[in-house]
Amino acid sequence: MEQNELIVMRDIVKAFPGVMALNHAQLTLHKGEIHALMGENGAGKSTIIKCLTGVYERDAGEVYVQGVEGNVFNHSTEDAQKIGIATVYQEINLCPNLSVAENLFIGREPVTKLGTINWRAMNKKAKEIMDGLGIKIDVTVALENYSLAIQQMIAIARAVDMECKVLILDEPTSSLDDNEVEKLFDVMRDLKKKGVGIIFVTHFLEQVYAVCDRITVMRNGGFVGDYSISELPRVKLVAAMLGKDFDDLAAIKPEGTQEIDPEIMLKAEGLSHKGTIKPFDFEIHKGEVVGVTGLLGSGRSEMVRCIYGADKSQTGKEYMKGKEINIKSPLDSIKEGMAYLPDDRKADGCIGELSVRDNIILALQARNGMFKKVPRSKQIEIADKFIDMLQIKTASRETPLSQLSGGNQQKVILARWLCTHPDFLILDEPTRGIDIGTKTEFQKLILQFAKEGMSVVFISSEIEEMLRTCTRMCVMRDGEKVDEIEGDMTQESVMSAIAGGEK
């Protein structure tokens, strides 16, 4: 091991039932370096990290960590923390019912002379840490009161505060907005100066080039290459990830302006949900793709949840194809031909222990009702069809959903809705945490659905993605629908609409 190497992983092998997750993968991290780990869904990024941090135990291979003798075997995340490896995972693993300060110091609370927890010191230190990150919040309030983004920052703050020499960030930015990402980058650069090595997993190419020094590319559980950022331009990086030359993203842009079908699919008048979204009107035509944009917490998710009935609307009226409908629960909207892909995949989408097949047919079964069971042969047929169509990577259709990678789980949830043949499809952040190749696939699918007459509402944090697919955009700010823009939309015009007059 060389002087400035922090971590060297060689020939790591990890097999899961039916899948070779890591096949002689490798990773080298130097001191004071931000190292991007890139690859498509299922390339093994998360797996190699989990092998390092002790979540999984590797089947074979060597791991060397600076300052530790010999081949390192971490059996738990605690072991990894002891040798200075801290991790922030894609899905937030904190305790929502505990206060921010408690979450920051859980397991290492400052104690008084009597051995009890020194609350005052803990809260004070927590406040200092959060202030240091430029986040002004009340640290004594339970974590669940804060947005996903703030929670993510707290998870990072927790990892950073634990005197680590290696910090692993597994897609920490997927739920952050631009400002927050910038804040995070500042923190990362700061740590880099202090000599901490950072492994950064992300799907956003811009972010890689904004902050990273080196890139390790993985594909299908194997190692593709370790490059310095200057020797690998974007196109080459994408090509390395996909293993082929990449057809330009811009190629899928809709050809010219499309004619809009005069038939109105769904109309909402004055819907609202107390505390989350103020009364709004909404209209979508047949075959139209409408975007909903705004910052995190601006009410964009809350608006579609209200339309779908995930949060019951307390005021207003809703019409589907001209007929007034009364939505009391999601089941009502499913029966009316709606479908909703929620943004919080883990909490609102996945039934983890059930098989891929069960997860796919769930909504269809719910619409049919309990007493009209979808025959097993039909279930198999549907599941196989969508596994094939969406190219879901799974060992078999009977594999529990929780064993699939994040992007493939997302595809399964999408399949769940597609098999109900909805007229009106709501996609809330369908491409979050999904690799770039699949993202393009998703966008192509959306346009194809629209062509077939489906109306689609599309929400994404990436404005570019929405520009490519949407004909019209609703702009949300502070729980209110403030504007609607159409026609010549550019990144700038949308951004200034989001920011409103203040910017």
């Binding site: 135990e57 089947d59 074979a60 995930a310 629960s329 999601p330 089941l331 499913i334 909703y340 929620p342 909490a347 609102d348 989408g349 996945c350 039934i351 983890g352 222990e353 059930l354 069960d358 769930l362 909504a363 079964q365 719910a366 619409r367 049919n368 009702g369 309990m370 007493f371 009209k372 069971k373 979808v374 769940r416």
Partner: protein, 352 residues
């Protein structure tokens, strides 16, 4: 070898295996264990005894399995509800305030249906508390755990009501001319009805979805609260039926003793069957096997001359072993060790 491995991976393998071991020990200790004879025109033997006496636990386990799966909690009121149902039936049959009767006040069917209905009512109350008011299952069912026996006692005017009417004894004993204990038929019927219902409708999928992630299930169009409620009602009905069998055995309603500690056996049966008490996926057959395993242990101990007072100690030790062997962490540990050994062997092979 591969076939054996496939077999051991089945969820039902361990419950079966445990039951087999208990039976095997019996066979070694007393070779006459599996003997079945006929005395006074009915079947007689240890095995018959286990099947007969295990009926109540098996019936309770069916309902308990669904409750555990859907709400990740247990219904601890089933034993008391058994007692309440029995009291309700006896009160109906004898008439209020009568403590011993040879003539029925209402037809027997009405009395029995009333008892089962009471069970369903208790289940509905538990279900409403858990599904609608979101009270923790153990706390919600604690109410009836303590109250149901007292209500039963009230129904029977604070005394033990005897039904000295021959057909009332059929359910817990024998129907004249049939050598097989009636309770076995009742158990088969309950299991059959519930499993056919689960197979023919999507209830099983609904229960598992709601039990694993009720929020996601709701978004996907499943009325999680209603499904939860239904499971508790089914559990209550099962308790009612078990109460009928227990009451018929002693042709009376002994409020303080019917179904005493049965809730624990029922929960244990679910766990022994390889079902996670954390809810989600479930296997009805496992629970039923678990129920008979418990009864087999109890019967064995009593047959070996372990006194009734000490039997629970031995039972506890056996149960601890079985539960540990089935624990996912333990299984993982075994699997990991095996994988490591295999990897070592493979490496050795490569080097050679």
């Amino acid at each position: 070898m591969d076939k054996i491995k496939k077999l051991t991976k089945q969820q039902l393998f361990l419950p079966f295996f445990c039951l087999l071991i208990v039976l095997l020990i019996n066979l070694i200790k007393s070779p006459t264990f599996f003997n079945i004879g006929i005395q006074h025109g009915v079947l007689y033997g240890r095995i018959i005894d286990i099947l007969n006496r295990g009926s109540e636990i098996a019936i309770l386990a069916v309902g308990q399995t669904l409750v555990v799966a859907v709400s990740a909690g247990t219904d601890i009121s089933v034993g008391s509800v058994m007692s309440l149902s029995a009291c309700g039936t006896c009160m109906m049959l004898a008439g209020y305030g009568v403590n011993s009767t040879t003539h029925l006040a209402v037809p027997m069917g009405v009395g029995i249906l009333f008892g089962i209905f009471l069970g369903g009512l208790c289940g509905a109350m538990n279900g409403a508390l858990v599904a609608k008011l979101k009270i923790q299952p153990m706390v919600a069912t604690l109410i009836l755990f303590t109250a149901a026996r007292a209500v039963g006692l009230l129904l029977c005017n604070n005394q033990i009501t005897y039904i000295r009417y021959e057909p009332y004894k059929y359910l817990g004993n024998f129907i004249p001319g049939c050598p097989i204990p009636t309770a076995i038929f009742v158990t088969i019927a309950v299991i059959a009805v519930v499993s056919i219902f689960l197979k023919k409708t999507a209830l099983g999928l609904y229960i598992q979805s709601a039990g694993i992630n009720s929020r996601a299930a709701r978004i996907a169009g499943i009325n999680s609260a209603l499904i939860c409620f239904v499971c508790y009602v089914i559990c209550g009905l099962c308790a009612g039926i078990a109460g009928m069998v227990a009451s018929s055995r002693i042709y009376s309603a002994d409020s303080n003793n019917i179904g005493l500690n049965y809730e624990l056996d029922a929960i244990l049966a679910v766990a022994l069957g390889g079902n996670s008490l954390g809810g989600g996926k479930f296997n009805l057959a496992g629970s039923v096997i678990g129920a008979y395993t418990i009864q087999a242990i109890t019967t064995t101990l009593l047959a070996m001359g372990v006194s009734t007072d000490q039997a629970p100690v031995v039972k506890a030790i056996i149960v601890v072993i079985i539960v540990v062997v089935q624990a996912p962490t333990f299984k993982e540990w075994i699997a990991n060790n095996e994988a490591k050994r295999k990897a070592l062997r493979a490496e050795g092979g490569q080097q050679a």
